[in-house]
Amino acid sequence: MFRFLLVCIILLNSISAHPVIFKNGKVFWISQSTKFNDLRLGVSKTNKWLVGGRILQDRRSDETFALLNNNYLAKRWNSKNAQANIYILSSVGINTKNSESMGTVGVHGDWENRQLMVMQMFEYFSHNSSWMSGSRLAYSPYTVDYTKMSTWLIAEYQVEYKNDNLSYMLIPVVRVFKNNYLFEIGSNGEDSFLSFMIHF
C-alpha cells in the first residue's frame, strides 16, 4: 500500500506542469498531502533538458526518499495559439533509511491552447515492476492577460497496474496561475493535495 501511494504521489506531481522550461530557468515546487511532504528543485540546462533533485517524505512512517530527475523534451510542435509536446522522463533515487534504490522511466504527451488541455502519461516503476497511467482533461473558463490570474478546472484520472491488478482514481483539480506562480488543489474525498510552483 505504501508503494502504491508513493507512485501515486510521484505521478501526481509529475503531471502537474511542463517537465522542461526555458533555458537556464529554475523550478521550485512544494507539495503537501495528508500523507506526504514533497520538495523539488530543477534547472533547465537547455530548452529541451531539465535536471533536478527531489526530497519526498512519508509523513506516517517518517521515511524520506532522495531522487534525481532527468526530463527530456523529445518533440514540441508550436503552432498559432497551441502547442503539443512529447517528453521522456526518468528518475533514480534511494530510501535514505535503508538505501534501497528505485528508478522510473516514462513518457508524457500533451496538447494545449488557451482554454483546453489534454495530457497523457505512462510511467514504469522498477522497484515493484508496476506501471501507471495518468490523464488530464482541463478547461479554462476564461482567458486573461498573463499578468492576471488564470483558472483551470481539471479532471485527472489515474490507472495503476500492479500484481496483475488494475486500480483507478479520479481527482478533480483546480489550478490557478499568474505570472510565474502556480497553485493547485485537488481532492476526491479520500485523497487530497496542495501544490505550489514557481519558475524563476
Binding site: 530548452n47 488557451r114 482567458t143
Partner: protein, 143 residues
C-alpha cells in the same frame, strides 16, 4: 526671419516624428510600432509561464531598453506577439531575437523591426530560416 526658421524646424520635427512610427498587423490585430521597437509573432505561447520565460530570456540580453514596457518587453498572449523596446545604440540582429524566443521553447513566425526609420519584416520560410520579406508598410504621421 526667426519665425520662419522656427516654422521650418517644427515641420522637420513633425516629419521626423511622423515617420518614426509604423502600423503592423499580427493575427488581425493592428500594433503601433515606434522607432527602436520590434514585434515578434510567437508560435506556441499559450500560458503565462510561457510569457514569463520569454521575458526572462530578453532580460538577460544587452539590446533591450528596459526603461520601456515591462523591463523592455510587452507580451500579448491572445494575439500571440511580443513587443520589444530596443536600445538606440544597438544595431539589432534579428537572429538574436529569434535565438531568445527559441531558447524559451517557442518559434518565431514573423518579426518586424523599426530602426533607423526603416521598417523591416522577416518571416520564417519552409526550412525554418528567417528571411527578410517585402512589406507594404503603413506609416502614419499622426499615429
Amino acid at each position: 526671419m526667426k519665425k520662419h526658421i522656427e516654422y521650418i524646424l517644427l515641420v522637420i520635427l513633425f516629419l521626423n516624428l511622423g515617420f518614426s512610427q509604423s502600423k503592423v498587423t499580427i493575427q488581425d490585430k493592428e500594433i503601433m510600432l515606434n522607432e527602436n521597437e520590434a514585434v515578434v509573432e510567437v508560435l506556441g505561447m499559450v500560458c503565462s509561464m510561457c510569457a514569463f520565460g520569454i521575458g526572462e530570456g530578453f532580460s538577460n540580453t544587452d539590446f533591450i531598453d528596459k526603461s520601456k514596457f515591462n523591463e523592455g518587453v510587452m507580451v500579448d498572449i491572445d494575439a500571440q506577439y511580443v513587443q520589444l523596446a530596443i536600445n538606440e545604440s544597438a544595431n539589432i540582429n534579428p537572429a538574436n531575437i529569434v535565438k531568445v524566443i527559441e531558447e524559451a521553447g517557442y518559434d518565431v513566425s514573423t518579426l518586424f523591426i523599426l530602426q533607423n526609420k526603416k521598417l523591416t519584416k522577416f518571416s520564417t520560410d519552409k526550412l525554418g530560416i528567417l528571411q527578410p520579406m517585402a512589406y507594404n508598410q503603413s506609416r502614419s504621421k499622426n499615429n
